[in-house]
């Protein structure tokens, strides 16, 4: 395990984040260790070379730089305004943080080689902690109760958004008529409920049995105002609720203040929250019918 060494390496370079990727299959890489976000997300980012153009450039040319005036998606869930990705021949090392985009190529390559030499597997403790996080998130949703569907739906959205550190959460529920309930954890659309429902409808109707991850809403064909990048959201994760999504969809999103996407841990949390939400809504609806 090279976390301490990776930390000092990142600090020497002035990097706020360091990701150490290992090739697990041709064209498939997993972030096994790192520093900053790279440590927090260790074991939870799996990327494909063919769907990550910036990393693909690094793997073909040895080095890729990102230097923008504002944060943009670099790969997977990682957003940064400055970053550099270095391919050492068997590892891919990504450095992120202010000033990284202008560092000397030789310095970056030397640091990447040192980082690659510290490769270790993601620690078992980290994996267990991740599993615990998934279970806790599901439990938080499963224990939601309320006296109205709105109260229940808002609590489900709030607890899911909280577990994932999201600024916005919403539940779209099919019914007569369909409804949308949302929570503001730092971001709220300047729109009516009908407008939010309309914007979520393409996701709700297409999420029949799937988890939908939109790591960059600017590239998503399902992102419409008032839930689009133009209004301040950067990424979104949605999961169908109920058999074949028959109840609706649970959706959470990150806002532009702290731009980032969803790791595979986030996605696991989302799936388990969706399953827990199904039982919560099912119980509520059964109780509702029994009362009626």
């Amino acid at each position: 395990m090279g976390s301490k060494e990776l930390q000092s390496l990142a600090e020497e370079l002035g990097a706020q984040d360091l990701f150490l990727f290992q090739v697990v299959a041709p064209g498939r890489l997993v972030n096994v260790d790192g520093y900053g976000r790279g440590a927090g997300w260790a074991g939870n980012i799996e990327v494909q070379q063919e769907t990550e153009p910036w990393l693909a450039v690094a793997m073909q040319e040895g080095l890729a730089r990102l230097t923008r005036a504002f944060a943009t998606r670099a790969f997977g869930p990682y957003w940064a305004s400055e970053a550099a990705a270095v391919w050492t021949g068997d590892h891919l090392v990504v450095f992120g943080g202010e000033g990284i985009g202008n560092l000397d190529s030789a310095d970056l390559l030397a640091a990447a080689r040192r980082a690659a030499g510290l490769t270790a597997e993601t620690p078992v403790a980290k994996r267990l902690a991740d599993d615990l996080e998934v279970a806790q998130a599901a439990l938080a949703v499963a224990t939601v109760s309320g006296s109205s569907l709105r109260e229940v739906a808002e609590a489900v959205a709030a607890r899911t958004a909280e577990a994932l550190g999201c600024e916005f959460g919403a539940v779209f529920l099919f019914g007569s008529p369909p409804r949308v309930h949302m929570v503001d954890r730092g971001w709220r659309p300047a729109a009516t409920e009908d407008e939010v429902l309309t914007a979520l409808a393409p996701v709700a109707y297409s999420a029949a049995s799937a988890l939908q991850v939109e790591q960059d809403l600017a590239d998503s064909p399902l992102a419409y105002p008032p839930l689009s990048i133009g209004e301040g959201l950067v990424s979104r994760c949605s999961v169908a609720v109920g058999p074949n999504g028959s109840l609706g969809v649970l959706s959470v999103a990150h806002a532009g203040d702290r731009p980032r996407g969803f790791t595979s841990l986030c996605q696991r949390i989302m799936v388990s929250s969706g399953q827990a939400a199904e039982s919560v809504f099912g119980a509520y609806l059964r109780g509702d019918r029994a009362t009626a």
């Binding site: 008529p177 369909p178 409808a201 064909p221 419409y224």
Partner: protein, 440 residues
Amino acid sequence: MAGEEAKARRIGQRLTRSAGLTSSACSARPMQLARMSNGAPGPAWAGTLEAALHSLRHPEAALAAVLAATAAELGASIAAAYAVDAEGGTVDFLGAAGGEGSVPTSRHAMEAMSEEAMAQLIADPAIPVAAMPADAPFPWSRFAWLGQLQATLPAGVTLRLIVASDRPFDPERFRGALAPVAAVAAATTTSREVERLREDIHRLRQERTLTAASLQHDLRTPLTSILGAARTLERQGSRLSTQDHDHLLQVIAQQTERLTTMVSEAFVREIASPDAPPRLRRTDMRELAQRVAGAAGVARGGEISLQAEDGLIVTDPDRLERALLNLLDNALKYSPQGQPVHVVGECSGERYAFTVVDSGPGVSPDILPSLFAAFATDRSRPGGTGLGLHSVVRLARELGGNVSYSRQGGMTRFCLVIPDMDSVHVPAEPAAASVERPAR
């Protein structure tokens, strides 16, 4: 059930009204809406339509919601809407939605649908749902069944609603979906049209500003010459030689004549005909260069060394004078005091080239890429409007010529090359300006 049917009817009536639909295919919408889902629309579908109707502030989102609800209601994979302008031969992708990741994976192909590809999909317009044609383009070829309906939107554009599925779906329910999609699509096309008009207005405003600013810039140079000559006559009239006196009077007469021509030309260009052709005359290039050098010297002050070969070229002398005067004025402005500006005129058969050379600081590398663009000014050299060189390029282009910039041996060179329009075919849009980057 009766309540839902009545609600569906109300929604249908509102949709039909809001769309302003003209197609007879849409005239019985409320009843067809009511027939959706074997007699009544699905409650989620109707509710989504209702919400979409309240969301026309975001027409593309509203259309996507209606398409998504429609695809789900029919049990189909994708529903897409296109606006086809048969007259203009254009196919405008309006939106698509569907289930199971169908849209994200094929959106680009759907957006790129051409009129020809669209035609391949139509087997028989009278049959709304049929087996997918064997030669259907991607992404439609991925599915076994195809549904197609069309309606006429306001402004004569045809809406084409395409639905694809792995299993057959009810044509009547499909027909029932047309009105709501058309209603929201009408809002989408109207919104796009408004956006296009807004862009047109913005562009026209920019052009108007540029024209006004260019005219002001062009008028300023001869006015300065006239003012300079008049002031010299006023202050030193008695001390001037007869030759100098006559020269200054000549400058005033020539520049006044130019002003008159420019004003009437601007009027013709802006009001009568924006594409006024050059007024071609066989022109003595040396005489023209002397005239311009005289006017520039009087206007700006400074020494001009002129070496111009003889050459008779068919061109528009007014435009050429304005172009050369702008170059000379620029050179005099930035040339250090006491350093002459050189004007060299060379005739090479069917072309005449003027090279204006000064020993000023040259152009900042930052501005080189946009040197000839309107309002491109060098911050290190205040006082420029950024229109002089742009005007030179525009005039050179109108004369079929070009302008280039280079910096060699500490000297700044602008070269204006004009063809003899009697013998040269002038391309419609020649590359009129170029910058030769100094060697690093």
